[in-house]
């Protein structure tokens, strides 16, 4: 009787891990959007209800969550552009590793720029 095979984790490279990260961030962003649509929709109930919910987000824990959120969106966006290049442009597949690291550089740039504003905001004044 043939069996399903098990065994060790496959040692993929940039292509495989970027796909995993793309899936994780994609699913994550999807659930975030669900929550975000709902909480923003509260403005139709009453301005007070909306304000109340938004206030609950003004904690250091949520500030950290925002970092994760921006990281996920930035990664998903730049890697997404890379996937489009691979699928539809002639030099795409041949340069996929370079495109990945290029996307990572852009991601880093965005994260630094974001953190530059975000950290002082979350630690200092905004609350």
């Amino acid at each position: 009787m043939a069996k399903a095979s098990t065994g060790t984790l496959y040692r993929g490279r940039e292509g495989m891990w970027s796909w995993v990260a793309h899936r994780v961030t994609g699913v994550g962003i999807f659930f975030f959007l669900l929550v975000h649509v709902l909480d923003t929709a509260l403005v139709r109930v009453s301005p007070e209800a909306y304000n109340a919910v938004i206030d609950t987000y003004k904690t250091p824990f949520m500030a950290f969550g925002e970092v994760i959120l921006v990281a996920a969106i930035a990664f998903h966006a730049f890697n997404g552009l890379r996937v489009i290049a691979v699928d539809f442009f002639k030099g795409g597949p041949a340069n996929q590793k370079k495109l990945f690291w290029g996307a990572m550089v852009l991601w880093l740039v965005i994260m630094v720029a974001f953190l530059w504003r975000h950290i002082p905001n979350s630690l200092g004044g905004a609350f």
Partner: protein, 268 residues
């Protein structure tokens, strides 16, 4: 252009480098520890790991390790192999976590220094039903291959002599003619692991070989077959296939070209 490749006659006698020839030179030998996933369908319900220690030489491959174990330690170790030099595609396996041909995996590549001991993990390729030890059921793989109609489709009378094909046209599909149907690519694909219905890279590569062959007239039919949920659109550009291919075929690129052909066909 005729070149004088030998400006002078090569020397009648030279000193050979220490790594070859002569007495003290010789090829270094070292210990190999092989952790192999064993599965006996008549006794086991699950695969289990077994460890073997053998002494091997610098020119040996993983296939040589397997043979040594089978021939000297445990005759029940079962694996497929034939040509032993990378053209038949029988011995695709997961070696240290990546799909490769056992006969092309030099032990030397797992070392920093020529006398370092080597540790390798060997298991069957993933995604196809496991039959025994390192042998899997290849039927689902060949079934997908057959479904893309992997043969030249023409219409009308056959020409008296050969069909004419320009050198440029011949070059377009050259890469994908190299496929030896070893299944390294398909069984390295995470999509295929979770969805056995996906055609898989190998089937798409062989379809590509015909779609882009100027003599073939079945391109549209094959594109239709692949224009399916389980067809080319399942590819997530993971690139495990391109890395695994022992023939160096640019698999993901070929799949992308099929995707592009499907789109331009719709728009045209």
């Amino acid at each position: 252009m005729a070149e004088n490749t030998q400006a002078a006659e090569p020397a009648s006698k030279i000193d050979l480098p220490a790594s070859v020839g002569g007495e003290a030179g010789g090829i270094p030998s070292f210990q190999v520890t092989a952790k192999i996933a064993r599965f006996d369908p008549e006794r086991d319900s699950e695969p289990h790991w077994e460890e073997y220690r053998v002494e091997m030489h610098g020119t040996d491959r993983v296939l040589d390790v397997l043979h040594k174990i089978k021939w000297e330690i445990d005759g029940s170790l079962s694996f497929r192999r034939s040509c032993a030099h990378g053209v038949c595609g029988s011995d695709a396996m997961r070696i240290n976590g990546r799909n490769r041909l056992a006969c092309k995996s030099l032990l030397k590549d797992f070392q920093k220094n020529p006398t370092d001991p080597v540790e390798i993990t060997v298991e069957a390729i993933k995604g196809l039903p496991l039959e025994k030890d390192l042998i899997v059921d290849m039927e689902p793989f060949f079934q997908s291959y057959r479904e893309i109609m992997p043969f030249l489709i023409t219409s009308g009378q056959e020409p008296t002599k050969e069909r004419v094909q320009s050198q440029a046209d011949r070059a377009i599909f050259d890469d994908t003619t190299k496929c030896i149907l070893c299944a390294s690519c398909t069984t390295s694909c995470p999509v295929f692991w979770t969805d056995g219905q996906y055609f898989g890279p190998a089937a798409i590569v062989n379809a590509h070989r015909f779609i882009f062959d100027s003599r073939d007239e079945g391109g549209d039919m094959r594109l239709e077959v692949l224009n399916d949920r389980e067809g080319v659109w399942r590819c997530r550009t993971t690139f495990n296939c391109t890395d695994a291919c022992p023939r160096g075929i640019q698999v993901t690129k070929a799949i992308a070209e099929v995707k592009q052909a499907l789109l331009t066909r719709t728009l045209a």
